[in-house]
Amino acid sequence: MDWQAIWLSVRLAVSTTAILLVIGLPIAYWITYSTRRWKFLVEALVALPLVLPPTVLGFYVLLAMGPRSPIGALYARLTGGMLPFSFQGLLLGSVLYSMPFTVQPVAAAFGAVDRRLIEASWCLGVSRLATFRRVIVPLALPGVATGAILTFAHTLGEFGVVLMVGGNIAGVTRTVSISIYDQVQALDYAAAAQTSLFLLLISFVVLAATYGLQRRVWGVWPGR
């Protein structure tokens, strides 16, 4: 089995999930509570990776990261490196690609928090930010956990975006799914079957643990 690829995929999935928890929660908050009329445009933009072929997303990300694009140029100036075909570039693509898997469950959980609890906190003199931290996030924790797990599992199985943005460099951008593809191309069906089974089991265990945990741990909270 290609342990190097598995380790790379796990690193990518953990990093993507961590980054999306930091930027996804504020986006979900904004989507839940904003009353702007053009909110639907942002919602559509965030959900786009759900329907867009990964190759299309990957293509645009690749263009945006190129040395002649502002993003690519800025990155080169700051780090001296290049984004395409690097782990960092892969991470950027993954974050965009998995955005809806974090934002949608979290936004749904925020929306399910009783509005009066939030207003009660405000009337007690507690700021919006502190109310978010002390009331909204704790009550939406099952949704946040669901978003994190889905993001992790989704990134673990990513293929199209990786191929477009990262290519196939062992130890840098060759993830599990790319490795399986390689093995099949090389007609090494035994290795492909082994890696596939491994990925299948990991995904199932992670999801089963999430749903089981949600029932046991968070089920005791009233009103959920």
């Binding site: 207003e119 009660a120 405000w122 009337c123 002390r134 009331v135």
Partner: protein, 364 residues
């Protein structure tokens, strides 16, 4: 008070704001509330009470107008900057925090501990809100609001989430706690008994406006117009014409009957308001009494309501009397029988016809 200026800089909440809701309902609230004791905001469902309370808390913004609290403009402040505690109908306790954590949510630990003790919550400190009774939830919510050091407490139907026996007990309990808390309170309710039990002053809302404001008993006894009379539950509200005055009394034509009442300077078309408990029913038409009004009538219906009986009469206009069940039995009141209704002249109160065009709420 020390002159008109005191009204705007002193211990008052001056509200003068308008808000149109998506439903088309328009709130037009103009009132000056003294910041002492308990003020009850009273009215039927849909009269705008809760909207006004949310405007005062800063949870809604008025379309226009101003809110001035103790001389400070409030209308553009966020809820956090107003220091107005808000008690929601179902208390809105944080379900993931214990009773003690709820009370200490926005308070210094010493203050929270003091209130926990004062409100008898120490034994419940480690329970979650869903594991305590409705009355205990209410006490917790009140302690939490007071712990944050508010300058004003706003309570939205504070007793409606409780079961009936607890509700009765908590009426007086709540008033005691509010007065002990020492923070001026505004309580929204649509229940007359609650209004009487809780309030010092009463503001009556009808169709988005505050129509009358004053001491609770006075408002109940002397509603200013027909809609207020109906809102505060005066059973007999009948259009009347003043047809004469003599010896300090007014003679009224009410339907097919004549009534006398105390002359307070009214004239023309008015509305006669008579509380049902101020109407006595007798069979002896010749009995001598100090009551000025003795009306011959016919019993339309007798409805037993526990220890009381509601007697509907036709005395030339519909008149409702409330007597004890025992009296109804002693008099053997039955449908269709001829009786006399006796009403003292002082029990007939005159109110104006409400005319939205020129009537402003009578604000003391």
């Amino acid at each position: 008070m020390a002159g008109p200026l005191a009204n705007h800089t002193g211990d008052f909440l001056v509200c003068d704001c308008r808000k149109r809701l998506a439903s088309g309902f328009t709130l037009d609230a103009r009132v000056t509330l003294p910041l002492t004791g308990v003020t009850v905001l009273f009215g039927a469902s849909g009269s705008g009470k809760t909207t006004l309370l949310r405007l005062l808390a800063g949870l809604e913004r008025p379309d226009s107008g101003s809110i001035v609290f103790r001389g400070r403009p409030w209308e553009s402040l966020a809820p956090q900057q107003r220091r107005a505690g808000f008690l929601f109908q179902d208390y809105a306790l944080f379900p993931h925090l214990t009773v003690a954590e709820n009370v200490a949510y926005a308070a210094p630990p010493a203050t929270a501990a003091g209130l926990m003790e004062a409100f008898g919550l120490d034994d419940l400190a480690d329970r979650l809100p869903h594991a305590i009774s409705g009355g205990q939830q209410q006490r917790t919510a009140l302690a939490r609001a007071l712990a944050a050091g508010p300058e004003l407490l706003l309570l939205d139907e504070p007793l409606s989430a409780l079961d009936a026996p607890t509700r009765l007990r908590m009426r007086y309990e709540l008033r005691r706690l509010l007065l002990a808390g020492g923070v001026p309170s505004i309580v929204v309710t649509h229940d007359r008994m609650e209004a009487v039990a809780l309030g010092d002053t009463l503001a009556v809302m009808v169709e988005g406006q505050i129509r009358q404001f004053g001491p609770v008993r006075e408002v109940f006894q002397r509603p200013v117009d027909r809609q207020v009379a109906e809102a505060v539950g005066v059973e007999n509200v009948a259009p009347a014409e003043i047809i004469g005055r003599e010896g300090g009394l007014l003679i009224l034509q009410v339907g097919g009957a004549r009534l006398e009442c105390v002359d307070s300077g009214e004239s023309g078309s008015v509305v006669a308001c008579i509380h049902a408990e101020d109407v006595a029913v007798t069979r002896d038409s010749a009995q001598v009494s100090s009551a000025r009004n003795r009306l011959a009538g016919r019993v339309l219906a007798v409805i037993m309501e526990g220890a009381l009986a509601r007697v509907e009469l036709d005395c030339g206009f519909p008149l409702v009397a409330v007597v004890t069940a025992q009296s109804a039995a002693d008099l053997a009141l039955r449908e269709g029988e001829e009786v006399s209704a006796v009403v003292k002249a002082t029990a007939v109160h005159l109110a104006g016809h409400f005319d939205a065009a020129h009537t402003r709420p009578r604000v003391e």
